[in-house]
């Protein structure tokens, strides 16, 4: 979390209940905003992952998914070879156009590719570049955090 500056009125600093509510609202509002941004990164997917908000402690929020494909895309994969099963054939389509971009909160139509390729030889997959959705979304909302907290504080006065 980055350095944040919030103006705290005196009457709120002596009201622990209101202060607690302001912090909870800041956490909840920011979590909802982050969850929505994650949803944007998969808006054009056919099988959309679910991004859940968890509250492991009163003042902690975790927003994430257990979707394996999303994690793979977010973190990237190294280059690797793909071989057909013995006696089998590899089938894939080309030219593939991804639905997402590195460090971009959004998603587009993409394309699986119109040409079907059959091969009995191993192919070299160049790997998947990490999209870093989690990092770019965290950076964005770190910058907004003080403003959201100020709103939450102001709402309590």
């Amino acid at each position: 979390m980055g350095k944040s500056k919030v103006i705290l009125p005196r009457k709120l600093s002596v009201n622990p209940q209101a202060m607690a509510r302001a912090i909870t609202n800041t956490m909840n509002a920011t979590a909802r905003a982050i969850q929505t941004d994650f949803n944007v990164t998969t808006q054009t997917w056919d099988d959309k992952p679910t991004f859940a908000i968890a509250s492991p402690t009163p003042y902690t929020r975790k927003i994430g998914t257990d979707d394996a494909i999303y994690s793979m895309l977010n973190e990237g994969t190294p280059e690797h070879d793909i071989a057909p099963r013995p006696g089998g054939t590899l089938v894939f389509r080309t030219p593939f156009r991804p639905k997402s971009r590195v460090r971009y909160i959004g998603s587009n139509a993409g394309s699986k590719g119109g040409n079907v390729v059959f091969t009995r030889r191993p192919i070299h997959h160049p790997g998947t570049e990490a999209r870093d959705f989690d990092k770019v979304i965290a950076e964005k909302w770190n910058r907004q955090f003080a403003g959201i907290m100020q709103r939450a504080v102001d709402a309590e006065v």
């Binding site: 609202n25 909840n28 905003a33 969850q35 929505t36 949803n39 944007v40 403003g147 100020q150 709103r151």
Partner: protein, 186 residues
Amino acid sequence: MPNPPAPLTWLIARLSKLIATATGALEADYPNGVGDWQQEVSRQLARYHGAAMLAGAEVDTLTPEMTTAVTTDLATQLRFLDKFALEMQDGDTWQAGWNSRANMYAGSIKTPYWQGNVDMLPLPAMPADGTSTCLTRCTCMWDVTKLAGEGNYDCTWLLGATDHCQICKQRAADWAPIRVRDGVVQ
């Protein structure tokens, strides 16, 4: 899709005209006059941010909390304006995109307007606050329904009548509504 509120449209149109006039004068005198232009646009932004908050909240006087909110939003815009002015000062010929870029500042008063309109509720984002891809072009709105009891609201992000970005579309789907119960955002 709902139309933007008339008072907000009126304020934006007026501010837009003032900024366009100042920018037109700067263009004629460029590369001189950037400092004066920045001062004039800053002054108008300060006036109209306050006016937008008053119009949104439908009150005559800003509370200290409203003043803090206005100041926070204004500071963000003035930081952007500072960068823009530096870019202008560093250049030697007028750039075609500068007029429309300057005019985008008029749209920034949507944020204090909606903050006032939603009764200062601690919602995740405000239209045109820079957290959506459409930036100050955002035409979305909050629709807040006050429910029975203290601190109970249903807050729905409504898409504006014009084009909207992916983030706003998602907000309209996800924040329909955001529930506030006993003063706590759910």
